[in-house]
Amino acid sequence: MAQRTRREFLQLAGVSGIVFASGLLDACASAERPRAEPADDFYFVQLSDTHWGYKGPANPEAAVELPRAVELVNALPRPPDFVIFTGDLTHTTDDPAERRRRMAEFRAHATRLKVPGVRFMPGEHDASLDRGQVYEENFGPRSYTFDHKGVHFIALDNVSDPKGILGDEQIDWLARDLRQRPKETPIVVFTHRPLFDLKSDWDWTTGDGSRAIDVLHAHPHVTVFYGHIHQEHHQMTDHIAHHAARSLVFALPAPGSQPKRAPLPWDAAHPGRGLGFRDVDADPRGPDYQLREIALASEA
């Protein structure tokens, strides 16, 4: 019998390409596990905007969401190759001691993930007030690259400069890194803020993001995953796909759908509505990425 890839498994399970409800995860967990898949087919999980330490009306139950997400990731039928948190791990505070405490607590939760690797990135709530000092103490470099099964991953920092820019130095670093890659290499970029002008008058942009997009543009296979806007969103800039992930603390309105970017009101009848994360099934041979949105709670 031919080996079955994870993608084929999900198709057989009838869940490919749809939003998961948490109950479906339980169903998947009890289904037959797929056999070993080809070495170049893998998946990862993107978690974003956990805002650990947030206390406010947009989510009175904020402290349960991160542990719940960890449970759901650990319940996936097979562990992802890695998990990445795309920023705003913690909610900001003026007090450096409190920031350290929140990051330590966040880290303690993240270490409960039963996956081979966990990667982190800062959001402006983590890094803008101290230019990333406490973040680096806890999680290391704010920008970095790594290669995994034929895909070149690049994590960019567009938050530790409080103006929400990448800066000349980082854009030069990106250009130097890309010059070393064959043009056909699949490139996946992680950022916190959108690189393009999604809605600049809500600050949903990166001041010099267009320069990074120009650098990336020379490569035919580039996909960007980001957070910041607390909702699923997909947009193309020419051949570059940009995918925003949901938050794990509160949802924000669709761009321009209301006068201000204030969080969507908490719905006591549907706690956790609008929150979630995604897994990304990567086939570097295309390259091709299949995204599945996983809700933290029932969306009904």
Binding site: T93, E124, L129, V159, P162, D201, G207
Partner: protein, 117 residues
């Protein structure tokens, strides 16, 4: 004949309206005032001061942006070219209420010079 032409020229060359100066203060996490009402075609100078720390002031739709630092007056001049409402916000992250630090410029249609009922 020349007097007629001169008169027409004077009528055509309507004097530019005087600049209007609007003062704003910025502090975590508000601007005061949060709404600025101006008139189409009337030049505006915004004078901004910060009462606490570095802030930004940006109006993306009008292409305006300036840093607002404590102890300094930041000035930005523009001529509103079309009526409408244009959002501004702080684009230098300043703390937990940063996302709410915003306001709007409301540009009214220009009143007709010498108009009346």
């Amino acid at each position: 004949m020349s007097f007629v032409l001169l008169g027409l020229a004077l009528l055509a060359a309507e004097p530019a309206p005087p600049e209007r100066v609007v003062h704003l203060t910025a502090r975590r996490f508000t601007y005061s005032p949060e709404t600025i009402e101006v008139e189409e075609g009337v030049p505006v100078v915004l004078e901004l001061t910060s009462l606490d720390r570095d802030h930004g002031f940006t109006v993306p739709e009008l292409g305006l942006r300036i840093d607002v630092e404590p102890g300094k007056t930041a000035r930005v001049r523009f001529v509103p070219e079309k009526a409408g409402t244009f959002l501004f916000h702080c684009d230098i992250f300043c703390g937990t209420g940063h996302e709410e630090m915003a306001g709007q410029i409301v540009v009214a249609k220009r009143k007709e010079a010498g108009g009346g009922s």
